[in-house]
Amino acid sequence: MVTTDYEQTTAAEGYQVKLEVFEGPLDLLLFLIKKKKINIQDIPIAVITREYLDYLGRKDRINLDREAEFLLMAALLIYIKSQILLPREQPVEPEIDPRRELVDRLVDYQKIKAACAVLREKEDEMSQVWRRTALTGPLPEEDLDLIEVSLFELAESFFTMMKRREAEDRRVVKTKEISMAGKMDEIVALLRERDHLDFLDYLGAQETLEEALIAFFCLLELIKARLVVAMQEQLFHTITVWLRKDGPAKGNA
């Protein structure tokens, strides 16, 4: 279980006055803008950059896991400052103001912060009321293992199962892994039975990725041994495989 930064702050500072730890660069910038009573639409970049670097240097108020992201913002501030300081023939137009993009991001982030406050309040309210998580009383048994599913759960279910299975029959898979000869026999037998084989279909029918890879290596071996012919009409199209009628396969028979 990962402790949230929220809880860490509370625990570390106990009953003392709780200093806010800035979770990200936008968090810190908004704080500085408020502290300096700056109009967000007209940020004095030089001032804010100096303040920002000051906080960054002290390190005690920033989430150090996010240091890289704080540094990235510092670089952006310095870049914007350099853009503003460039000598110009005409005054900067609002739409090409180098601060524009940052201001837009800050305004948007400010909205998200305001929404957070509203949602936190609602969460507090809802924490006072309780809903049932299961039904009591007489209900059909078979309802118990029913669940709602999302795409995430579908995918997770699959990969979790594959991991479980891998652990379960590592031994079975292992025996399959070593028996390349068996796989080759299987391919040759299939070809004897029905003349040709759509190899991509065959690969798709393999139970595990490992098995499919082995089947593929077997095919390469069989080609090398001149036991089979493989043809691919176009790149990315399927591979059709035949037994060689004139090769060692005949001689062996």
């Binding site: 299961a134 009591t136 009383g137 293992d145 669940i147 795409l151 579908l154 029918a205």
Partner: protein
């Protein structure tokens, strides 16, 4: 003494997953009330719901108290439960569906092999729900049926194409920090 003892008990019975026993009640309320007071309040609660123009009631069950619907509403209750059952997938069906999705086209024997358990029934459920379909037979001994997921499957999970399924790498990425 506890204010609104009857309602406190009502809230506890409502939220309790098992029938709420006097022992459990005593645990929660401690010494603040006597067993007699609790018993009286419980009787009051039962009477209140019985008398009310309400579809639910409080009944004694398995040595405790539990909410239940009144018998007259059974046909409606049963119908809703039936509908719910059809709309949801069991964990078994979900696992089978994921195996079909990531391995299609695939046979029953292959799915059972992948999952390590017989999957005939789960496949049947998925067929019924039209989340998978039969697309033909495999050129193999016994010519087994071959399954694929359907358009409905894509719509259900908000996918445009089967290639849009999250890859193992994406899943890993989403979960990696958990182990950090």
């Amino acid at each position: 003494m506890i204010d609104h003892l009857t309602e406190v008990l009502e809230a506890l019975i409502f939220i309790s997953v098992e029938p709420l026993t006097p022992a459990k009640i005593a645990e929660v309320l401690g010494d603040a009330v006597s067993a007699e007071e609790v018993e009286m309040a419980l009787r009051d609660l039962v009477a209140r719901y019985d008398a009310a123009e309400s579809a639910v009631r409080v009944i004694p069950s398995a040595g405790g108290y539990v909410f239940s619907t009144k018998p007259g509403y059974d046909p409606y209750v049963r119908k809703l439960l039936q509908i719910e059952r059809k709309k949801k997938l069991s964990a078994q069906a979900l696992e089978t569906l994921s195996a079909v999705a990531y391995h299609q086209p695939v046979t029953q024997a292959e799915i059972s092999g992948i999952r390590g358990v017989d999957s005939t029934y789960a496949l049947h459920t998925l067929l019924e729900n039209k989340l998978i379909k039969i697309v033909g037979r495999k050129e193999a001994p016994g010519r087994p049926l071959v399954y694929r997921t359907t358009e409905k499957f894509l719509a259900y999970f908000g996918l445009n194409a089967i290639e849009d399924l999250p890859s193992e790498e994406e899943l890993k990425k989403l979960m990696q920090d958990e182990n950090a």
